[in-house]
């Protein structure tokens, strides 16, 4: 199961999506998210699906790999769908079993929410798959820059995020190693009652915590040894470059947004 986690992984490539500036990717996804949550118009939503599909296809991420990775997250989508299906009491009655009633409104609401979440998950996953963690945090830091005036520690926030992203694969690797070591000592993670399985995690979690703290300490020492003293006066080796294609994609998204707002109001 652990082998399939793709959060925080980066798949190198030269596609259009890869080549976009991280800032424009972040803005695009943010706008897209707002618009699909505002809109209920079938035309807007289906074009959103098409846009997502187009982005996915151009990014050139192998489908099988992607699917395996998001399969687990899709449980949330299914869960929300079912919740909405049973909780909404609008529209006509579709099914009446006495103790449970399904309304047409529930089906529509559930489907709508599921679709929105689904698109969101795909895009968010694609963001980390096509953007290096360094670019991603650089982009975030730049976008948060205005907040610095109101004393928000933007550099520190960005650094925290980049460290977190950077260590996801390391942590997964470490977990796998410890799981193997404990399996070799006869631990079993897929047998027995739920309680037993939860207990089986203790021999994995404790070593993981211990090594994470140790690693954090080592990292702090290494950073200080190299003279790190916060974001003040720090220059950047990698410069972000905003190009025409970034302007294009953001204006396209704004247009899409205006359109979805118009359909919502009228």
């Amino acid at each position: 199961m652990l082998k399939n986690v793709i959060i925080g992984q980066y798949v190198p490539g030269r596609s259009f999506v890869h080549s976009l500036d991280p800032r424009s990717k972040l803005i695009t996804i943010f706008l897209f998210m707002i618009f699909i949550f505002i809109s209920r118009d079938p035309f807007v939503l289906s074009s959103a699906v098409l846009l997502t599909a187009a982005a996915f296809l151009t990014a050139g991420i192998p489908f099988k790999f992607f699917w395996k990775g998001i399969r687990i997250i899709l449980i949330i989508v299914v869960l929300t769908f079912t919740l909405h299906l049973f909780m909404t009491q609008e529209g006509m009655v579709l099914l009446d079993l006495g103790w449970i009633t399904i309304y047409s409104g529930g089906l529509i609401e559930g489907g709508l929410i599921a679709l929105r979440l689904f698109l969101l998950i795909i895009l968010a996953t694609m963001l980390t798959l096509t953007t290096t963690p360094v670019d991603l945090t650089d982009g975030m830091e730049r976008l948060m820059k205005p907040l610095k005036r109101v004393k928000v520690p933007t550099h520190e926030l960005a650094l925290m995020m980049s460290i977190a992203l950077r260590f996801i694969p390391t942590l997964l690797e470490e977990t796998q190693k410890i799981v193997k070591a404990q399996t070799a000592r006869g631990a079993s993670f897929s047998q027995g009652s739920l309680w037993k399985r939860v207990n089986a995690l203790i021999p994995v979690l404790i070593p993981l915590f211990v090594s994470s703290f140790k690693r954090a300490e080592d990292l702090a020492i290494a950073m200080e040894a190299r003279g790190y003293a916060g974001g003040e006066g720090r220059t950047k080796f990698r410069q972000l470059s905003w190009r025409t294609r970034d302007t294009m994609i953001v204006s396209f998204l704004l247009l899409f947004g205006v359109f979805s707002i118009i359909t919502r109001i009228s």
Binding site: I61, F65, A184, R185
Partner: protein, 291 residues
């Protein structure tokens, strides 16, 4: 336990952009009751190969037989539980597996998982700890209060307490000081000598270690088996060592120099201090006789 590997290939993260082939069509036999070593450069697939021997990884294709167990791509994890009692692994930096409140409890983890009662587990755990040089007064301490070397010993005791027949060692002395390295290697060797059927497979970059302890050496390179040879034959053959970019062990190298300098043929087959000393003394005595 005898290990037989038949046409085994192994691919990590199959069907992803990160797919890497670690083993290519490897076939080899490791006889029971022998001290084996697997050597090769980083990334040659030796660790992966070793993890197949107790079913931590299953081959992508081919078959691995360990004792009476067979591991194929279709084998279920739960069928391998019993095998793991008989094939213990000491990983690189095994101290990262410690988790219990006390050292004793941590060593008891393996035996308890394999169906021993608390009392039985405590007996084998205490024995294993004493064997690895952890005195009784330390047994109730937390493993996280120990020094690095003591943590290593505790982790090794945790593997030995399962009373395996086959011991898989993945660079067990990495990061220890020279004295600690020697003690740990001696400890494994004493364990191995105790019973006829015990088998060891050692992965190491240290050719002195390999030559000193192993009887049979397998050379891996880029996921393929290059050679399986008796240690005494491999480590005295300069051209063979050169071909696989392996260093000649220190003792043999010294004798080789002496041989080259004196022009007299010497038996290079000496990989311990004692054996090398014995050869040197014999050389000196023969020199005296000539004079």
């Amino acid at each position: 336990m005898r290990v037989e590997v038949e046409n085994v290939s192994f691919t990590y993260m199959k069907d992803t952009p990160f797919e890497t082939t670690a083993l290519r069509n490897v076939s080899l036999t490791l006889e029971a009751g022998v001290y084996h070593a697997i050597v090769g450069h980083t990334g040659s697939g030796k660790s992966t190969l070793m993890q197949l021997f107790n079913g931590l990884e299953k081959p992508t294709s081919g078959k691995v037989s360990v004792g009476e167990w067979e591991i194929t791509p279709e084998t279920k994890q739960r069928d391998l539980h019993e095998l793991r009692r008989h094939a213990g692994v000491v990983f690189q930096f095994p101290e990262s597996q410690l988790f219990e409140e006390t050292i004793l409890k941590d060593v008891m983890f393996g035996p308890l998982n394999h169906g021993k009662t608390k009392a039985e587990a405590e007996t084998v755990a205490r024995e294993a700890l004493l064997r690895t040089g952890m005195p009784a007064e330390l047994h109730d301490r937390s493993p996280f209060e120990l020094s690095g070397g003591q943590m290593r010993r505790t982790a090794i005791a945790g593997v030995l307490a399962m009373e395996p027949q086959l011991l898989l060692l993945d660079e067990p002395t990495a990061g220890l000081d020279p004295e600690g390295q020697q003690e740990i290697m001696q400890l494994f060797y004493d364990w191995y000598r105790e019973k006829e059927a015990r088998t060891i497979v050692l992965i190491s970059h240290d050719m002195n270690q390999v030559a000193r302890f192993a009887e049979n050496v397998v050379i891996m390179e880029q996921g393929e088996k290059q050679l399986a040879e008796k240690a005494s034959a491999l480590f005295t053959d300069e051209s063979l060592l050169k071909k696989y970019q392996l260093a000649m062990p220190e003792h043999a190298r010294l004798l080789k120099r002496l041989e080259d300098a004196s022009g007299k043929p010497l038996d290079l087959n000496a990989f311990s201090d004692e054996a090398a000393l014995e050869r040197l003394l014999r050389f000196l005595r023969e020199g005296d006789a000539d004079a």
